[in-house]
Symmetry: C3
């Protein structure tokens, strides 16, 4: 008999090291692998407004550096531009960089794995200057 659709949810804690991308593909894949779901939909959700999620190339590390620099140029850490400066000069730029990327990714699961392309990795994008402990919620629905 066909198994009914079921779901699982967990929260991962990720330590960041100041501004930049932290790859989270592996801890997500490990958790997903333990759920015994062959086909389904995995959702990754970042519970913060000064960190976000991106899928980027996982081959040349220069891609991550170039991406980080682009966002530094695009969203200047210049307090004269913002009213919200109480939490430091990097806080409002962090909120904006988060809005320009995303805090949520849903990825189909095929043959028990995320249907990522060959060169795709999932990254937590820390936008604050200091290291932070960040939470991402993982949810999977499937069978």
């Amino acid at each position: 008999m066909r198994q009914p659709i079921r779901q699982a949810v967990t929260t991962l804690s990720i330590q960041t090291h100041g501004q930049g991308l932290v790859e989270v593909t592996e801890p997500i894949a490990r958790w997903l692998g333990g759920q015994g779901i062959a086909t389904g939909l995995l959702t990754v959700f970042c519970r913060h407004t000064s960190a976000s999620l991106v899928i980027q190339e996982n081959a040349d590390p220069d891609v991550r550096t170039d991406l980080e620099r682009f966002f530094q140029r695009l969203v200047a850490e210049d307090p004269s531009l913002y009213d919200h400066t109480l939490e430091g000069p990097d806080d409002m730029p962090a909120h904006i960089r988060s809005a320009l990327t995303t805090v949520q990714l849903s990825i189909p699961v095929v043959e028990g794995r995320m249907a990522l392309g060959t060169w795709q990795g999932v990254y937590l994008f820390e936008h604050r200057r200091r290291p932070h402990g960040r939470q991402i919620v993982l949810h999977v629905l499937g069978e």
Copy 2:
């Protein structure tokens, strides 16, 4: 016996007040609360190309103002830059601002509520100068 996964869908009408963020966390939470779903996945979908969705800090209102101003600077309302000007100088910038943010958010549901972080609120981002009636579709799958 374990309850099977089920789903619900509705459309919310949101009145905007010209360019800026309108918080929609509360009406979404109210609808979700009525569905009796403890664990699942909630999707919010904006049916427009000149309004969008963002998750932003719900504490200091300056964050919203700073975010709005950033998008006004980044995507200038300068008709000389665009061919699509028939619907007004704010229409093409609205489409671009929508593409830079998102029209869709999926948020895990845990213990009957959206798994938002402490400082996260869900906002409809109106990109046109005039007030508009906007539709967002809510969909939840869970048990």
Copy 3:
């Protein structure tokens, strides 16, 4: 008796023609129409880091041209700005443009169809100068 929730998944191959938007609403709608799902959630996932997805206006073609030009201005193809230049001057800008838009869209299904607004179309956004064969994964959960 109520039908249980079920799911389907497929991969579409899309040919692009160099930088610009390729509408994919129709092939997605055709596949969805064949699944016999009245209510549910459709996810579109782009398996690349130099192409992405956007929902944009499907009426005036100038909107697409203006959007493409905006991204060309915002993310310059200037090799002096990037370290990652081995794959050509358009590769790193492509990765950044992909991060600024999204590689994933989830759209509620209502009455057997995507709950898109009247003016919304789904587009694959090619960011490389040359034509490419691109893969998008479609996943639907519903009943």
